[in-house]
Amino acid sequence: MNVDVAIETKGDSPQITETFDTPPATRARGRRPTRSQLLGLASLAIISLVPVPFGDFGYFIGQYATIYAILGLSVVVVTGYAGLISLMPYSFAGIGAMATGAAMASWGWPFWLALPFAAAATVPFALFVGITSVRLKGLYLAIATLTISNALGETFFTWAPVTGGDSGHLVGRPVVGPIDFGSDLAFYLLCLGAVFVLLFMVEGLRTSRMGRAMLAVRDNELEAQALGINVAKTKLVAFVLSGMIAGLGGAFLAQLLISVTPNAFQSPFAEATSLLLVTLVAIGGMDRAIGAFVGAIALVVQQQVFNGFEFFFAFVGIYAAVVLIAFLLFRPGGLVQVGKILAALVRTRPALGISIIAIILVTNIGGAWLILSLS
């Protein structure tokens, strides 16, 4: 037997490090880049001021964008973080909107009480979706959630005592204590405050035990289990949080529309809008909270630009599909990733980076102006 040859003893202190590959060039290791954070906050502040010169019309568009950003955040949690393609967000928003409508219009609740109620109202539905589809993934999950969203349109949204029947609810703009949010500016500021609070919260979730569990489940369920993560529970939490955020968005949506009717959340509007929300977040950037904000602005701006066209809706559908596929194929990180790439380019090759940004801005603003002047 030549076993002894195999059992020869090796050196006792292994120098494993020397066999490693060479480290990549020095990276920016700061996990809390305060400078770019400040820059981000500054750009958020500037973007928030964009509606000001357009007056009440600008504020209305601003309210619309911020509410879509809130709905987008619900997609960030369930699809961006946990990797679950759910077509439920707009139905959850509908549940929130109906809960707000019933609470404020029928029961006379104040807005500040209707808000948490709208979030809580989605929880049983989110649990139902989560429990029934916890073993499904990808396309199958998308189809399952589509079916549930469709079924809710035929059941929950036809439940007259809650939805107020076909005429829906008449919800006034919120009044919180002495503050009246009746004016477009005041309500815009309220929506803006809400989206910033939720941005902060969803970004916080990403660097936490449950948030990382979601990212882990998205990347590799098997490994997540092997590292002690309860995959089923993580998915349920993602569904519930996503539902609650969408419910809050729905509460604001009810305030925006003033009158909420259940047919807005029935087939095909519910599914189409949920798909639009997924598109919006894919364009903005799936796995960062800020992606929902960027995506919502991109969506609302292009909707305004193309608003004059008769074939607007058909066009938006095709446009959304093409842009979604393009982003998923080439830039899965969305506009947020594109922005980071451009920022890095400006840092390394300022002339090239700035001219590329200038070309993008000129072609986009010029194109928008051209289309607006044609319509």
Partner: protein, 258 residues
Amino acid sequence: MSLLRTRDVSIHFGGIAALNEVDIEVEQGEIVGLLGPNGAGKTTLFNVLSGFLKPAWGRILFQGDEISHLLPYERVAAGIGRTFQHVTLFRNLTVYENLLVAQHRHLSSGSFAAMLRLPGWRRDERDAKDRVEEILDVVNLRPWAEAHPTELSYGTTRFLELASVLSLQPKILLLDEPASGIQQKEVEALGPLLKKVRDERGCSILLIEHDMSLLLNASERIYALDFGKIIAEGTPNEVVSNDLVLESYLGRTRRATA
């Protein structure tokens, strides 16, 4: 009382016995090897022990308690850590984030605590980061902390995986071919490393390995499997000189030349 013990564990895949009345025992602080040709049922046994597969019958006892009904994440909590034959990891997360994910079971704060930045979340994040910083130094992965696993060499990802599973502070470590696909130099360092892990942490190791020198070097006891059955058990020397093992694994030609 042995740390881990199986009794008559059997599982069938479409009429084929992947595991057939397997009885193994691993003592506290012992390094035990599993030897066998491809398809012998070694990885199946790991899947059964870590809860990814349910055995058709038989019992699995861990520290004297029946654990057959526990789900994979519950077995991690009980103290069973495992790696996979092919490095898995989380490709879209950085090395640092990969190690943070592995801290999951030591943390307790919930989603709302994180979203509202409550003290519980702050404490959790500080603890997790402190531990990861420590691990980065121990396994010398600090230069790659912000890199993604896809940017690392295969050997380095193996060490990252090992670091992740060690962060679970398991009482027993199930390692499925830790040396496959890595450089010879790294393979040679692995044996002493496993012994060091055992000595410093007192954790038992159950090892599947096709690299014979590593398996025979590192293991104190070896079980040989073939067709889902334990065909031999003993010290490395006893097992490799066993006729049944020679026939099934090393092959008769080897015996003729010996």
